[in-house]
Symmetry: none
DNA sequence: GATCTTTTGACTTTGTTTGACCTTTACTGT
DNA sequence: ACAGTAAAGGTCAAACAAAGTCAAAAGATC
C-alpha cells in the first residue's frame, strides 16, 4: 500500500506533466482536504519530494488568497544547478569566484548582459560592506537567489 | 483564486490605463458596492497597492460630494531618479518601500519582469539575513546600485 | 530495539477583510 | 449667519484566512 506521501507526490507530478509550462499552483488546505490529511503533510511532501536537488522550486504566499506554486526546472539547467547551487554556492563565495560565476552564466546565456553587470556590482564588496565572514556568506546567498530566479524560465526541454 | 485586494487593484489599474491622463476619480462606497465588500477595504487597497513609492498619489475629500482621486505619476525622469538616489535611497530602506520602488521601476519600463522579480528576492529579509539597522542600510545600497545601473542607458552624456 | 520515514497537531507568521467608531464637508431649514 | 443633519471618507484593532515550523507520535525496516 503506497503511502500518503507517495500518492500526493504522484498526484502533483501528474499535474505538472499535464501542464506544458511545468508550473502549477495550488492551495495547501484544499490539497490536504483532497487527501484527507493534515495540512502540514503537504509541506512534508514538498520538502522531501520537491526539493531543489530533485529539480523543483517551490514558492508560496500566506494569508488570504495564499497559494503554493510548484515549478519543475528544465532539465538543461538541472546539472548546472546541482553543481553550482548545491556545491559552490552552499556556503561562502569570494568576489573573484562570484564574478567568474556570473561571467560563465552570461556566456551560457542564462543572464543578459545587463543582469550580469548588475549582479557584478551587487556582489562587489563596496556594495555589501560587511566584514569578512559575513560578506562572503551574503554573496553566496545573493548568487543563489539570482541563479534560482534565472533558471526558472529557461526554455522547457523535452516532455515525459 | 485571486483575492479581493488583487481584483480591486487590477480594476483600478485598468481604469487608469484606459484614461490617458492617468487620473481617475471614484466614490469609495460605490466601489465597495461594486465588489461587495467593506468600504475600508478600499483604503487597504489604496495603501498597499497605490502608495507614493509605487508611483501613485491619492487625494480625497470627505462629506457630501466626496471622492477619491487616483493619480498615476509620470514616468520616472532623470531628476526624479536623482532625488530618489539622494533622499529616498540615501540611508535605509524598508522591504515594503523597496518593493514599491521596484514595482514602479518595472511599471515604468525601466526594469524587465525578470529583473524586477530578481531584485524583489534580493532585497527580501530572508536573503539579506541581517539585524535591523544594517539590513535596511544594505537594502538601500543594493537599490542604489541597481538604480544607477538601470539608468546608465538613459543618461545621454554617459557613453560607456 | 534502534533508526529512519511518515503523519499529526499545536503554535507561529503573514496577508486580508470586516466593523465599530471618528472626522470632514455640503446642504437645509430657520 | 447658524445649527443640525446626512453623506461622504478615515482609522484602527480584531477576526479571518492562508501557509510555515517544529517536535512528538506512529509506522516501517532491518
Amino acid at each position: 500500500m503506497s503511502s500518503l506521501v507517495d500518492r500526493i507526490e504522484r498526484y502533483l507530478k501528474e499535474l505538472l506533466d499535464k501542464n506544458p509550462k511545468g508550473v502549477i499552483e495550488l492551495q495547501r488546505n484544499e490539497l490536504a482536504g483532497l487527501f484527507e490529511c493534515a495540512p502540514s503533510q503537504i509541506n512534508y511532501v514538498l520538502s522531501t519530494r520537491f526539493s531543489l536537488h530533485r529539480g523543483y522550486i517551490v514558492e508560496s504566499r500566506r494569508g488570504g488568497g495564499g497559494f503554493i506554486k510548484l515549478i519543475k526546472l528544465p532539465l538543461l539547467s538541472l546539472d548546472v544547478v546541482c553543481r553550482l547551487l548545491l556545491e559552490e554556492l552552499g556556503g561562502e563565495v569570494s568576489q573573484q569566484v562570484g564574478e567568474g560565476l556570473i561571467d560563465r552564466l552570461y556566456e551560457d546565456g542564462l543572464l543578459t548582459a545587463r543582469e550580469a553587470s548588475l549582479l557584478r556590482k551587487l556582489i562587489h564588496r563596496d556594495t555589501l560592506q560587511l566584514e569578512l565572514p559575513e560578506r562572503d556568506y551574503l554573496r553566496a546567498r545573493i548568487l543563489r537567489v539570482a541563479l534560482l530566479e534565472v533558471i526558472k524560465d529557461e526554455i522547457p526541454w523535452n516532455k515525459d
